[in-house]
Amino acid sequence: MKEEYILSQEDLVDNPTARVPICLVLDVSGSMAGEPIRELQEGVQMFYEAIRADDVAQYAAEISIVTFATEAKKTVDFMAIERQDVPALVAEGVTAMGHGVNLALDLLEVRKADYQRAGVDYYQPWMVVMTDGEPTDDISEASDRIRALITEKKLTVFPIAIGAAANMETLSALSPGRPPLRLKGLNFKEFFMWLSRSVSRVSQSTPGEAVALDVAGIAAWGQG
């Protein structure tokens, strides 16, 4: 084959990688102080490292972090992962989970609109909610929004309980269709490694391909 009949990369278009937007919604209330917040911090760090080490996911995954305590705040906004720093998590205050989840849902909607404006394809957004306690604010609006999004297949949500004090019933209200799971001990690292593998699988899926969750892998970090 003569080289003149091989198209050069310059003759082709350059489409951006389809994105998987992920929002981590993390409880940093006072009860998380000590070992839990340290383990969570290391788990988030490991999540970033695992995504950065993945050939496909490093370009596909986009992460934002919402923390909630007495107030909810956008700790890390969506942007390319190589430009993000893992924030220092500090535990204090009460548990404004409803505000945190609503803020996360707002951020995901804004990000989807950004993708649409820029002509960037994207996968169904993911939201991970991690808490060790009970909300001190009203979660009914957040629960309603999640229910509507999941019914329309517009969101995948993973509510994760940390420790025995986390209220599974409350978390169930944020997870229609899939029961929340309780973290085994403080196995944050195992959870975030599982999450990065799951994101990697989704980011490589093609039309018509249903991506099954790695249920067997959940055993390393979760219990029902």
Binding site: M1, Y5, I6, L7, Q9, D11, L12, V13, N15, P16, A18, V56, A118, G119, V120, D121, Y122, Y123, Q124, K154, V202, Q204, S205, T206, P207, G208, E209, A210, V211
Partner: protein, 267 residues
Amino acid sequence: MWRASPLGGRGKLMEATQRSNSYRASCAQIIGRSHEKSGTPCQDFVAARVQRDFACVALADGAGSKTHSEQGARTVVKAVTRILSDRFDELWGLAGDDPSQVSGQLLQHCLEALQHQALRLDCQLSDLASTLLFVAHSKGRYLAGHLGDGCIIQQEEGGQLVVLSHPENGEYANTTFFVTDATAEKRLRIYQGECTMGAGFVVMSDGTAESLYRRSDGSPAAAVGQVLNWNRTISPSEMRAVLGANLERTFSAKSADDCSIGVLSAL
């Protein structure tokens, strides 16, 4: 004469070229890296058919996790090629008056073939889900159809490239629409028109479209013009090798998915 690209894997690149005094049509497909890694067969199927006054390229991309979608893709490509070859004049005329009649009849024909295949394979119809793209040309007239992702690019008189049919995805990157969907009849887009000899068409699956279709503004890559130029000017055997080499070395670098392409030139 019917020639199709049978199913195959990397290293078993499938190509076909058809030539007449009026037409040249070539096609090729290759299994994607992700399918090779997972042991999934190539789910793209593309075929070219040329007769004296008729030519057609048709392509289908089987749904990712459907168990027999590679068989479904093969079945609809053969079925649509057959009906276009047998009834081109009638369908072209009907498309001018009522395109929905044409989409209904073509889908009915495809679904009958799929039902037969489902019985043979003892599977559900949905297990045979695939997209569908085709262009047929006869005596200065073309009829094209498209359901799902991938795209169809046309070279107009004067050489200008235009996207005749854009990809239709759902909201998410891993969603699209298939022949076996309940809404398929509404989603099968039919295009009909006249074009002089010298026209060219390229059909491609989403894997190839990663290289040849810019999603942000829906424009074609300049490379499509080069591919059509080669199809008109080099020998059929050379064109077969050219498409195969570009799938292997160029298009597959931009997508881990199966890649396929069909090229039709009216000389």
